[in-house]
């Protein structure tokens, strides 16, 4: 059993209000545990100070790996391992390799990125993630605070002042 957390969170009805609230929390130096939204909100990442994802760097590496696998693999197969003449072309027919090289680049990059994403986020078969409130996947915008990190009374007044429609506490 993983460690439980006591959290307090507020729900907003509009993303513009949420953005303003996040800005206020940042200005007040309240330590936000996380923000949950039903869809990506433009301009939220810079306010939260989230750094750019490095997943695409991994994607590039996987893609390059796919390129090399396909190109070197086919080169070896068609010149050393099992040379066959197709349509009177030389064994090492680079133009004919390009489409397969492209396909394996895409395949390696996409599968590699999906697997990396799942591993980094601790997702996998059988994993149950605590959901703070089901409505954050529908029409509610949520800012959650870990009670261990913040002054709870300060957070409560912050939630009231910034127009949260609901305030809840929960143990997850």
């Amino acid at each position: 059993m993983a460690q439980t957390k006591d959290i307090i969170y507020g729900l907003w009805n509009d993303e513009e209000d949420l953005l303003k609230a996040v800005q206020v929390a940042k200005d007040d130096h309240l330590e936000i545990m996380d923000v949950y939204t039903p869809f990506p909100i433009h301009g939220l990442d810079p306010i939260l100070g989230l750094s750019e994802s490095r997943l695409h760097i991994a994607g590039f590496v996987y893609g390059a790996l796919g390129t090399l696998t396909a190109f070197l693999g086919m080169s070896w197969i068609f010149t050393k391992d099992w040379p066959i003449i197709f349509g009177g072309k030389p064994h090492w027919s680079v133009p004919a390799f390009i489409p397969i090289v492209f396909e394996l680049t895409v395949l390696f990059a996409s599968i590699g990125m999906v697997v990396t994403f799942y591993v980094i986020n601790g997702l996998g078969p059988g994993v149950v993630n605590p959901t703070i409130d089901l409505r954050i996947t529908d029409d509610k915008f949520c800012i959650a605070f870990d009670k261990a990190d913040v002054d709870v009374s300060k957070v409560e007044s912050f939630l009231k002042n910034t127009g949260a429609s609901e305030i809840h506490s929960k143990t997850i």
């Binding site: 750019e52 349509g87 009177g88 004919a96 489409p99």
Partner: protein, 449 residues
């Protein structure tokens, strides 16, 4: 805010045009009897900038039809670029009239003596078979009729857009008008550009054809158009205009530059690989000629137009920085100019040699056999014979202005580029830079990628 076209700018651009004109005059007097280098440079640059104008119109109308909003804040730039057809179509008509009156011999099909079946010595059955489309009537008529339709529709869109500025967007009346004319323009631009690519560009290699060519050529124009848009917007921003055109808009243009560079490569490679794989002589001659006699340009084309934009613009931040985006736009614009050079010059040089009687021996073989396979083989033999024949005189097949662009070609390019920019800035200065009352303007100003 309206762009003010200052006297200083006009002086510089006029100086550029004078350089271009001077280079063209110098080319004319240092030329062979047919003035092949002069006319091929004229065709190369006219077709390049006419196509860029057409693609600006095409992309603008496609965006209008797709209800896109992000570009609206700088829509006047595309309106202005697209109206360059007013200059470009007459330039193409001059070439067409030149073909008709035999001022030039850019196109092998314009040689009437090869179309007479009673003269087996010179008769060319392939060009005879194509002569119902590859003829001056189609060339001049197509340019004139399609050109007028394009100009009429783009002019309508422009004037409705200006009327929207003045009269407001009451009931979106003007905007619906723009939408209607945009939708009419699209098929004329899409199908019409393909027909004119066959006439203007592909028919310099009159015996050869590729069904992919119009797409490939159109993609080349499209990427060049995006490059010029990026560079123009950067220039205008540096002069204090278009402050509401932000990094977000340039980022999206950068994405288009990146994506359509890959699209161009995809078409280039599809055409190459199918022809390479099928290995039919009449088709492979196109690439055989270019790989053998133009290897530097052939591979540089791929490096400048694919490898460079692919790796430079792959990252998010390089599309958002003026330095890297502007550099790539300039490089790729020049790269696609080279691409058109490589599309046109080898075929034109071949025709010039055939008309001037170079390689007459293999030409005879070409015309007396006349089957498809023999034609391809004979053309190969022709280039070989030509190379052999020239060996004694020049010790190589290198010809300045054909094997690679010389200073005169670069000067001519600068001249046409200055003419193009002069026209676009002139059109920009005639109307407010931001089209007020466009229903998508707010969306565009708040554009966020």
């Amino acid at each position: 805010m309206t762009y003010s076209f200052t006297g200083k700018n006009k002086t510089w651009l006029t100086a550029g045009m004078v350089i271009g004109l001077l280079c063209m005059v110098l080319t004319w007097f240092g030329d062979d009897d047919l003035h092949t280098r002069f006319w091929s440079n004229f065709l190369h640059n006219s077709v390049f900038f006419t196509g860029i104008a057409l693609m600006a119109g095409f992309f603008m109308t496609a965006s209008i039809t797709a209800w896109a909003g992000w570009y609206v804040v700088f829509k006047r730039v595309w309106e202005s670029i697209s109206l360059f057809l007013v200059v470009g179509i007459p330039l193409m008509l001059i070439i067409g009239i030149g073909v008709y009156l035999h001022w030039n011999h850019l196109y092998h099909w314009s040689d009437q003596s090869i179309l007479d079946p009673n003269d087996p010595e010179k008769f060319d059955p392939i060009l005879y078979g194509k002569s119902s489309f590859l003829n001056t009537t189609w060339y001049i008529g197509g340019t004139l009729v399609l050109g007028l339709i394009w100009i009429f529709l783009l002019n309508k869109i422009r004037s409705l857009s200006l009327a929207e500025d003045a009269e407001g967007s009451e009931g979106f009346k003007k905007h619906y008008g723009v939408r209607k004319y945009a939708a009419i323009f699209l098929p004329f631009a899409g199908f019409g550009s393909a027909a004119m690519v066959w006439q203007w560009i592909m028919s310099v290699d009159a015996h050869w054809y590729s069904t992919l060519f119009a797409w490939y050529c159109g993609a080349s124009w499209f990427v060049s158009m995006i490059c010029l848009t990026i560079l123009l917007l950067m220039y205008l921003k540096s002069k204090g205009y278009y402050q509401n055109v932000t990094t977000e808009h340039l980022h999206d243009l950068g994405k288009f530059l990146f994506a359509f560079s890959i699209f161009w490569t995809y078409l280039w490679f599809s055409q190459y690989m199918l022809i390479w794989y099928a290995n039919v002589g009449e088709e492979t001659i196109y690439f055989k000629e270019r790989v053998t006699n133009y290897p530097a340009l052939f591979y540089m084309n791929l490096i400048i137009n694919f490898v460079a934009p692919f790796f430079i613009l792959m990252r998010n931040d390089t599309k958002r920085k003026f330095g890297s985006l502007g550099f790539t736009a300039g490089l790729v614009l020049f790269g696609h100019w080279l691409d058109f050079f490589l599309m046109l010059k080898p075929g034109i040089l071949h025709t010039a040699h055939a008309v001037a009687g170079h390689g007459a021996h293999s030409d005879g073989a070409d015309h007396s056999h006349g089957t498809h396979a023999a034609d391809g083989a004979a053309h190969g033999a022709e280039s070989a014979a030509h190379g052999g024949g020239e060996m004694a005189a020049h010790a190589s097949t290198f010809e300045m202005g054909f094997s690679m662009p010389g200073f005169l070609e670069l000067g001519t390019f600068i001249g046409f580029l200055c003419l193009f920019i002069f026209f676009v800035l002139h059109m920009l200065s005639k109307a407010p830079l931001v089209g007020a009352n466009d229903p998508y303007l707010e969306e565009s100003i708040h554009h966020h990628t």
